[in-house]
């Protein structure tokens, strides 16, 4: 059952050490290495940065979703890390281009398309769940591994209510139509 591989308490860490984005990514890569998800930390990190260079992975609400495809990946998964301190992270949500990140979903996906294929449907379904503002608001406050897993796995209508951080103010956009 791929779900047990993709979401696994062994790769949830609520005490991610480091004070910079680079330090926390390296810390998280070391956890993935220890748990047999990747074969090489440096290769994995390099591939994550390749994706980082293409655009911000901060998604607001103190959450970031670094991801990339890497041949160093042995098992597809999503590592979840709660940082011990806020980390400055490039963001698509803020005006100055940065946010303080405290919860990181590090997508660990094989660059081997054949190998990743079996898992991509599940990974995409889980990624889509982060498009729900209530879930995201609750995740940013979650304190235990169980709580985090429950919030990700539950259906939208089981989420209940939460005050949404950074709720969108509806404005007119400058678009061509």
């Amino acid at each position: 059952m791929p779900l047990n591989e993709i979401l696994n308490k062994d790769i949830i860490d609520l005490n991610v050490q480091g004070s910079t984005k680079d330090e926390v990514l390296r810390y998280m890569a070391s956890v993935l290495l220890k748990n047999g998800y990747i074969s090489d930390e440096d290769v994995f990190i390099k591939d994550i940065y390749e994706r980082e260079a293409e655009g911000p992975t901060g998604m607001g609400s103190h959450i970031s979703i670094p991801h990339g495809k890497s041949f160093s990946v042995l098992k597809n998964g999503i590592m979840i890390g709660k940082t011990v301190q806020p980390i400055r992270w490039e963001s698509s949500m803020s005006d100055d281009g940065f946010q303080d990140t405290q919860l990181i979903f590090l997508f660990c996906v094989s660059a081997d398309a054949e190998f990743a294929r079996n898992h991509m449907m599940l990974l995409s379904e889980l990624a889509g769940k982060l498009g729900n503002d209530v879930r995201v608001a609750k995740l940013s406050k979650a304190q235990t591994k169980e709580e985090i897993l429950d919030l990700i796995l539950c259906e939208d209508d089981q989420l209940g209510e939460a005050e949404v951080l950074e709720a969108e103010e509806i404005v007119d956009l400058d678009i061509d139509l």
Binding site: F107, V109, S124
Partner: protein, 104 residues
């Protein structure tokens, strides 16, 4: 309005799917019908049919890479925005389209 949308981001792992969900939620909240096709690493999912496209008042491209099968949308009103727009302001995007089309 009846909206169809396509999402496609560079890696095809995360933003494609998050933005699809955000557009879905925003449209529903503002009282519109929407169907979102995702073009990512999982391939094309929730593929738009010829009928979906024919019935749509507007097409949203939310993308950082080329939309596959763009010829399907020939002759339609298309709103073309980067992934980040729908990531950050999905409701504003839909409400602006609504105003510009004068539709509900």
């Amino acid at each position: 309005m009846k909206i169809v949308a396509v999402t496609a981001c560079t890696a095809g792992i995360a933003h494609t799917y998050i933005v699809a969900e955000k557009l879905q939620k925003a449209a529903e909240e503002l009282g519109h019908d929407i169907k979102v096709e995702t073009q990512g690493s999982a391939g094309i999912e929730n593929e738009l049919t010829a009928e979906d496209i024919a019935n749509a008042d507007v097409v949203i491209y939310s993308h950082d890479i080329a939309v596959r099968g763009a010829s399907r949308f020939a002759g339609k009103k298309i709103v073309d925005v980067p992934i980040s727009t729908a990531m950050k302001q999905p409701k504003s995007l839909i409400s602006t389209i609504e105003k510009k089309l004068g539709a509900k």
